[in-house]
Symmetry: C2
Subunit: 110 residues, 2 copies
Amino acid sequence: MFTPPPGAIAVIFLSGRSVADAQGYGAAADAMVEAASRMDGYLGIDSTRGEDGVGITISWWRDEAAAIAWRDDPEHARIRESGRAVWYDWYRVIVATVDRAYGWTRPTGD
Amino acid sequence: MFTPPPGAIAVIFLSGRSVADAQGYGAAADAMVEAASRMDGYLGIDSTRGEDGVGITISWWRDEAAAIAWRDDPEHARIRESGRAVWYDWYRVIVATVDRAYGWTRPTGD
């Protein structure tokens, strides 16, 4: 189970989907993950969206420089423009530095 | 649109739901939000869960002391124990400090 180390950067993207273009959105979301995972300093991504159309995606980065490089990546910028034009009613971006992390998994077997 | 100020604390809770006890879970989730919102230093909460059972909940706190007080709150601890016993297959908790935040809303009217 992946937990980011202290000092890693979380780029938290909260969004409300418009009803437009479900197919195009799915393809772009896949392309976004693909583009992020090719970046230096990429640690992982967690994403979910509920039935109400509200989604939370968190991408994890080694350090501030890696997060900034992702923000400025041309393919990211291009997909982001489509997001504003078509897919989102609103979004919020919060950049935060990891202080601590831990995980738990249900024990199996008994 | 709420965006947390720099220095605020994000408590990021990622979880995989077990299939057990959907009704009890819903009531507990509501009770958890209610308990959090009564705490000093509570700024807000964002939460979503997808069809695959993966959920992301982020509670926002004024400072580290407020986040620690929430961690140690007895009602929170009680619900957390039920979570481990019944509702979750796994979870991860990441505590992070907000560096910057911004939001966008689709312009209306034109």
